[in-house]
Symmetry: C2
Subunit: 277 residues, 2 copies
């Protein structure tokens, strides 16, 4: 990541410093690790996988910077540090997010990521679709509209499949696309990605309701305070935990045909469901 980001002394310095501040240090790097583990499963070139993993992580980082802004979640703490608009200013945070998004697509286009350039164009399309108005940004819009609303479980799921699920799925598939897998294998990995993506959110909701701010590295109890529907408000903690466990089991089932090659993806599914922060 260090190497793929603009240097802090490249003009405009303040913007580049803020980009590095928002991407480097901290974070669980779940998307980066998923892309990397999927690439390993697909026996892909490590350099190629590193680029797609970084691109996905840049999209994630941009979304956090924008989501934390006062007009969205208005959060002051992220990864145990002041959020970008607090450490810098709102205008810079806006441009940081915009620039990180552009950089993600630049990385996917300027490095050779596949022997087949058409496959690489498909990768650009996948990341764009996962990030845009029908993916992550769309999920965020549904989330905003849902404040104070009573959502049904399918509505909540629809929101999260877009808001966090789309990018997590894309991370797994982009890593896998760097190697050579059959379509049936890609479908299994896509299902794995869908399950861990949803599990990630369910666990997030449980942690947000149970943990404290210091452990999370971000403001805890925020969703309930903001009157946002979550798996916990809808199902209660025990049923939410059971849902996470079922998604966990389903994710591991999708990995079964890959046997030992899927070791790291298996570990990541465990981490996503069993983590305490």
């Amino acid at each position: 990541m260090q190497r793929l980001l603009p240097a802090a002394d490249a003009e405009p310095q303040r913007l580049h410093a803020a980009m590095r501040y928002s991407v480097l240090e901290g974070g669980k790097r779940v998307r980066l690790l998923l892309a990397s583990a999927a690439g390993e499963l697909a026996h892909a070139d490590v350099e190629r996988v590193n680029v797609v993993a970084a691109a996905v992580e840049l999209i994630h980082a941009y979304s956090l910077v924008h989501d934390d802004m006062p007009c969205m979640d208005n959060d002051v703490l992220r990864r145990g540090k002041p959020t970008c608009h607090v450490a810098y200013d709102e205008a810079t945070a806006l441009l940081v997010g915009d620039s990180l998004q552009a950089l993600a697509f630049q990385l996917l286009a300027e490095h050779e990521l596949s022997d087949d350039p058409r496959r690489q164009l498909a990768m650009v399309k996948l990341l764009a679709a996962a990030s845009g108005s029908r993916g992550m940004a769309g999920g965020q819009a549904i989330d905003l509209a849902s404040v104070g609303q009573q959502l049904t479980l399918p509505e909540l799921e629809n929101m999260h499949i877009r808001k966090t699920g789309a990018l997590i799925r894309a991370a797994v598939l982009l890593g896998a696309y760097c190697g050579r897998l059959e379509q049936a294998q890609l479908d299994l990995l896509d299902h794995y990605g869908k399950c861990v993506g949803l599990a990630f959110q369910v666990v997030d909701d449980v942690l947000d309701s149970e943990a404290d701010t210091a452990t999370l590295g971000k403001t805890a109890g925020k969703d309930a305070d903001n009157d946002k529907p979550t798996y916990v408000t809808l199902l209660g903690v025990p049923a939410a935990k059971q849902m996470a466990a079922e998604l966990h089991r389903e994710a591991l089932q999708a990995l079964a045909p890959f046997s030992a090659d899927a070791r790291r993806l298996h570990e990541l599914a465990d981490f996503i469901v069993l983590r305490k922060f």
Copy 2:
């Protein structure tokens, strides 16, 4: 553009309606017209050129939506209509910009734009670089940092080459890339794009200092009010007009070898320099 944007009734409807609001209706469409005219010069397939022209216009539209937000220029009027964050809300405007950017890259990746997919990847890279922290977003960051500062002419030029110039240049080149031109011809078009990009900004500064809000369709006199350095504050109106005329002449010179094929690019250079709004 109508056809390439998500339908207003596609979920999330409010986001998609706001995206359409921010892109359709109004605007001079200079970037779209430049891409289209460059494609015509290169005898490129019209469908392909339409896609790249739309992608460039989406990037431009996203930048306007974000630039108008309260934390940036805080403008309430754009293209004679309330700005996106006024017509909708700030959070939606933020997501509109983010989604339009993603859609631009999705369009460039999902349509066949060149017989050579590697050339198409180069087009994605070109648009990403023109939009990002070393291009348009970087220029905007320098612009913000320059409020109340005394810039030299080269510093002002550096800012505008990024802020508006990079995307205008990209528009010309992307249109041309859809066809088949020699590198020497692309270099001439790139020089044309550089000249009209800078001329565009110089003329903008002159118009901003002279015109009224109704004619401009956006708030006039804003730059001077905001204590922003412009070509007019730095050179005065007569010298700024002369600079525009020289850039105009240089742009037309770059087109000379193309003779009649460059008719539309010639007309656009005339429009950019001689326009009254």
